[in-house]
Symmetry: D2
Subunit: 267 residues, 4 copies
């Protein structure tokens, strides 16, 4: 009997049914990044034991909206774009572990199952949501241009509740697109046992970063953000105390894998 | 009592609840157009009494996928993009009425209610569907460039059934983006009476075209199209006998209104 | 050439592609009705010129959640339930026209296109929404029983915003299921011209009621309702000042058609 | 700092944001079960190394459609049914491991994220899909009664492609509701390392079964099943060679946890 194929479940004779093809995964997309400061104690409250606040600007937060196409190394998903396109909204903070600074995603919502599964593999704590962000246009009146005055809206909902709304207006070009999501990621991959009360079946601290990064021109400007409460969310505890800036940039990146830093931390 | 407000239902004190704001409606979007020839009798079978096949190339059909942003004259929808963005797939033929040639939309699927309502106002026979089309990118590996070799997929589903799949690969720049959807539209706005057996409450033949058209560069290339059968669709009767070409172009346009050509045709 | 077929667009050679099959339409479903009183001026503000408040209890409002199966006279939709099932949330007031009292639907959200189209035909001002209501169960712990203590939740969202939330707990059996949605409906079927500034293409006042009504046992109890504001809704202006009661009942009904009361009212 | 809370990611100060509340999970729902025989080699091809075909009737397969409400021990989800309701379609075979016979789920699609996450915890290889099944009714004409002649349709789609369609017509009451999904489950919980080429981070064989099972009356009858091919599915390889029967039954059950049978099988 041939062994079962498939990077993730379901595992099958041909491996075609897996919820996602194996890495590398290539991404091309547009990203709106909104950076702001919250009370640092709210960031600290989201870090696991043993992971500390960043040394400088510890209350800095980035909330990002991304409109992606992604594919495996076969590129076949691009011919059937329901398999390639998704949107996501995610919240990133910085932290320190064993003397190194990292970025860490504390909340993230996506709108397809393949992106959800990929995120859980990488340690992104993904849930499903409805994500929208204004697209820049080059013709007509129904959209902003990538130039001063260009104005973007971005929204997040889950389970029929609006969770976040941002607006961003370009004032000019920018060297970069923010500093909060700029470090290697430090993510937890923790999975409980099927047995109640037993130690976790997986408890890992991993790091990862993209390769083959290709960046479009960055634009910056002023930003507003509102977050709303929900019985199934805690995002509103991480609301803005002071806005930093907004950014728009197109990004290309490939994800191949990461490094396990600690495989039984805390047990 | 102040009169009720609202371009379409529901009509309310403030007019904010209407399924769509009043025209003018501004659109900016990307369009993939696939042109082909079918058996002319299949086109004729979709034309109402009194409307004839086009004189030349009467079996020509265009199926278009469009990824739109649209808004009213307040532009407020662009700040809340769930109110602005939608995708559609539509099928256009040409026809002749009283000696004039027109384009006519015979099938169309969209993915939001405001676009559905707007279409019914204009005479587009809209239903809901799931529409996907590959987006061109400028960075990274997960998408085509707008240049020779750029390759696009486009799909349509409704009620969980795949109805159409197209592929298009750019071979070079183009003067235009096809001829089938290029004439003023000739649309029917027919609505039955609430009384069984009574004459229609509305039975109009209208024409319309956009204004303030702004066009991006056009690209052309080879195209494939497959259409599939469904118990609730007749698109498969309009399948390709011969492919003509595919096109990609960004389009900006404003729709303000049209002209009623005949308000009781056929009664 | 055979004439085009189809009760509503698109009209086609076989009539299978119409967004909905012709009436009669048969419905079987479960309905949660929440009745309350609002400021009567808020009801009056939603009535067109010439339609007056009900004589007694003019501020009474019913908001109903319904979980339907529906089909045409061929019953084929029941074999392919994506064509038969939908949920809706709607708001009904009472009014008086030419000395007769009627029920009138002022807001309604559904979750399929065929139900949207059917509603527009009948004069229901439908938009798309996300509708949920707790289902009664007969086994297990994950749902209420149809008996005293049975507790139901019902929610409405549109465009990712929560618009209404209700709770209802059964206290006992009931003779009926409310009085607000109990009269023949008085609906407007108004459609603008394609020509800006021209008189409407359709402007009708119609009445309709179901036939072959079959009712399950009714249950009543206490109810709560919260309505929320949205830039595209005015439901929050119709919030509760005083709750009346909640009801649960299964209903079967057939809709065949209605009567046009006035076909050019107001021009 | 208080430790982070949450059964599954995201882990947060309050634990409210977790994609799902901790077990026990209570379920109440209606299940349509279709049993048939396929080529036993097709079943064998879906079993991991070391797991064998069942001794008798090794080609037996059950495909089940379920319309669930579920909740945690707080029961709060039932007041906000978007958090409680979901539908699923799943395919079960039987197998033998170390002399014991088990049921095993080889494919499953659900329509919410909380059900997806819960399934991954239990070893169900869940993906998202669109699932529909006809509901029995007690009034009106738009649905079957739970009695001989009652007729049900059930469909599955994913990524806009129809994957399976079943029909089932009741001929009479039944002792049980099939034998394929009746054994304790044998599931794999395998998760790759973040490091390419490294051994899996989790590789478990687990068993589980529900407790507090409460069963409604079972109905049986004849069934048909069609499965369709898709580039991202292998269900069509498991098509029916011979139908066995269909069943309808309402089921209540509680899931608390399972037992890890083997935690490094195959490494």
């Amino acid at each position: 009997m041939a062994p079962l194929q498939g990077f993730l479940p379901p595992r099958t004779p041909e491996g075609r049914a897996s919820i996602v093809r194996p890495p590398p995964w290539h991404y091309s997309g547009d990203i709106v990044t909104i950076e702001y400061r919250t009370d640092p104690s709210r960031v600290a409250a989201l870090l696991p034991d043993g992971i500390d606040l960043a040394d400088d600007d510890p209350g800095a937060v980035a909330i990002l909206w991304a409109d992606w196409q992604s594919c495996s190394d076969s590129f076949e998903e691009l011919d059937d774009p329901v398999r390639a396109q998704y949107k996501e909204c995610f919240v990133v903070v910085r932290c320190k572990w064993r003397g190194q600074h990292y970025s860490r995603c504390v909340y993230i919502w996506v709108d397809t199952d393949f992106a959800l599964a990929r995120g859980w593999h990488q340690g992104y704590p993904k849930k499903l949501g409805a994500i929208h962000m204004t697209r820049p246009v080059t013709v007509g009146r129904a959209g902003p241009r990538l130039e001063p005055g260009g104005r973007f809206g971005a929204t997040l909902s889950a389970q029929g509740r609006r969770l976040a709304e941002a607006r961003f207006t370009i004032t000019g070009p920018s060297e970069g697109a923010g500093f909060v999501n700029a470090l290697p990621m430090l993510h937890s991959r923790d999975w409980p046992s099927i047995e109640a009360g037993a130690p976790p079946s997986m408890k890992e601290l991993v790091t990862m970063k993209g390769r083959d990064v290709e960046l479009g021109p960055a634009w910056t400007g002023g930003a507003e953000l509102n977050v709303f409460s929900s019985p199934t969310e805690e995002l509103s505890a991480l609301g803005p105390r002071e806005m930093i800036a907004g950014y728009f940039r197109s990004v290309g990146v490939t994800f191949e894998g990461g490094t396990t830093l600690d495989a039984a931390r805390g047990e």
